[in-house]
């Protein structure tokens, strides 16, 4: 077990969005978060990645094992694809770029400035970053946005590989990714609006 | 040989010195860049020919 969530509540903009979440993530497991727009998937992922504190409950797990990929890819438009990847490899203390490059078919784009990529090419580079982190738990927010079908296939393949090597993944997505995964629908955990976030009611 | 520049010697000499230095830097920079760009273009075209 690499991540265990107990009675977790997460909040955004001062309001609790989801509450009463309980789940675990084991090595080799992929967990897909589903739920309509605005249900709180992004908020949950940010909380688990340690970017914001939980509103209640516990997260058991080592933040040092998590690699988070947000909607924005964190690419520097003036640096080349290779330089972008190499930078993240250095930050995470790894050095071999080639698996990442191969996994997302970036070979021909290596010397291109990241700013001159198309939407899908950027996304592929953003996903390739995950592979150079060398981390075990991947947290992905709508990873396949803008990807064409063959790239989605590549992505699914990469995830399957990662799971096979005892990695695990937590994904938020609206579309089918084409690999076996536990599905967690977050809609039932929608927070009731019973209490005010900060002050007690009738305080006046 | 050297003309007598009188009390303004430093002014005149530094004006000549500075101007010539700036010209030399400009010319040198232009030539250096010209050579560099030319070399990389030649290398590039040679490589392409080599590849077919």
């Amino acid at each position: 077990m690499v991540l265990k969530v107990k009675d977790l509540a997460v909040s955004r903009g001062g309001l609790t969005v989801l509450e009463g979440l309980n789940f675990t993530l084991s090595p080799g497991q992929a967990l897909v978060l589903r739920g309509p727009n605005g249900s709180g998937k992004t908020t949950l992922l940010r909380t688990l990645a340690g970017l914001q504190p939980p509103a209640a409950g516990d997260i058991v797990g080592d933040p040092e094992t998590i690699a988070y990929a947000a909607h924005a890819d964190g690419l520097k438009p003036t640096l080349s694809v290779r330089e972008n990847l190499a930078f993240w490899a250095q930050v995470f203390g790894t050095s071999d770029l080639s698996p990442a490059i191969d996994a997302f078919n970036l070979g021909t784009l290596l010397d291109r400035a990241a700013g001159a990529l198309s939407a899908g090419q950027k996304r592929r580079l953003g996903l390739a970053r995950l592979k150079v982190t060398g981390r075990q738990v991947w947290m992905l927010d709508e990873p396949t946005v803008s990807l064409d079908t063959s790239s989605v296939e590549q992505f699914a393949h990469t995830i399957r590989d990662h799971l096979k090597n005892q990695g695990s993944a937590l994904l938020a997505t609206h579309i089918d990714l084409g690999f076996e995964a536990t599905v967690l629908d977050v809609s039932p955990y929608k927070a009731k609006l019973r209490d005010l976030p900060v002050l007690e009611e009738g305080l006046l | 040989m050297m003309p007598d520049l009188g009390k303004y010697a430093t002014s005149v000499l530094s004006a000549y010195g500075a101007s010539i230095a700036i010209l030399v830097v400009l010319i040198w920079a232009s030539l250096a860049r010209s050579a560099r760009v030319r070399k990389s273009l030649e290398a590039f075209e040679a490589k392409r020919k080599g590849n077919g």
Partner: protein, 218 residues
């Protein structure tokens, strides 16, 4: 950490930005002063050290928003914060990169601009010394301000307002040091104060900046 510093320097050079632009701004501010206060050269010489300090400070200020904003917008900051690097280290590196790309060129250019303001040549040493000693504080304080405003779109002006009061002590002692040096007066007190401010901010502020970044990323 070194990787981050190198990346930031590379981006600054690549953008053609870092060095040249801050410098050009400094130059322009110093040029504008005579236009606005009128060109009597004795008046100019008497306000020269102050103007040079003010110009350097404003040039620093304008480049502050680059420190974090780009990384925040494209998501790098989220990713860096979840990376193995300690956040305190990240902000220190950011401050160092800012100093190298924005402040150092100003220090080097200052004597040339002093010439335009009719400053006597004996004063150049003091101008450079005071800037060299004071600008690291400007970078570190600026990094704190940039961290505070990182979440805000176009927080540039707010940033200026938060940072400028913090710059006041550095400015006072820096300009005082330069002025006294130029006029051949005793420089010990402002020198010590300026050095003290710089070392204190370098030692303490990165912790505050890191804390503030953490809050802003929530």
């Amino acid at each position: 950490m070194i990787a981050l510093l190198l990346r930031d320097l590379k981006i600054a050079v690549r953008a053609g930005g870092g060095f040249g632009l801050g410098l050009a701004f400094f130059l322009i501010v110093v040029v504008l002063v005579p236009f606005s206060v009128g060109p009597q050269s004795s008046l100019l010489a008497s306000i020269a050290p102050g103007i040079l300090w003010l110009g350097a400070l404003l040039a620093c200020l304008l480049s502050l928003d680059r420190i974090f904003a780009l990384d925040f917008e494209d998501g790098s900051l989220d990713l860096l914060a979840t990376s193995p690097l300690p956040l305190e280290g990240i902000v220190s590196v950011k401050a160092a990169a800012h100093w190298l790309t924005s402040a150092l060129p100003l220090v080097i250019a200052a004597p040339f601009l002093a010439l335009m303001l009719n400053l006597p040549a004996a004063g150049y040493f003091w101008i450079v010394l005071s800037l060299l000693l004071g600008t690291p504080a400007l970078s570190v304080i600026g990094t704190f301000g940039a961290a505070l405003t990182v979440g805000l779109k176009r927080g540039g002006l707010l940033l200026s307002i938060l940072v400028l009061p913090l710059y006041v002590p550095t400015l006072i002692f820096g300009a005082e040091l330069a002025r006294r040096g130029v006029n051949g007066m005793d420089t010990q007190t402002p020198l010590l104060m300026l050095a003290g401010i710089t070392f204190a901010t370098i030692a303490l502020l990165p912790f505050a900046s890191a804390a503030v970044i953490r809050i802003n990323l929530r």
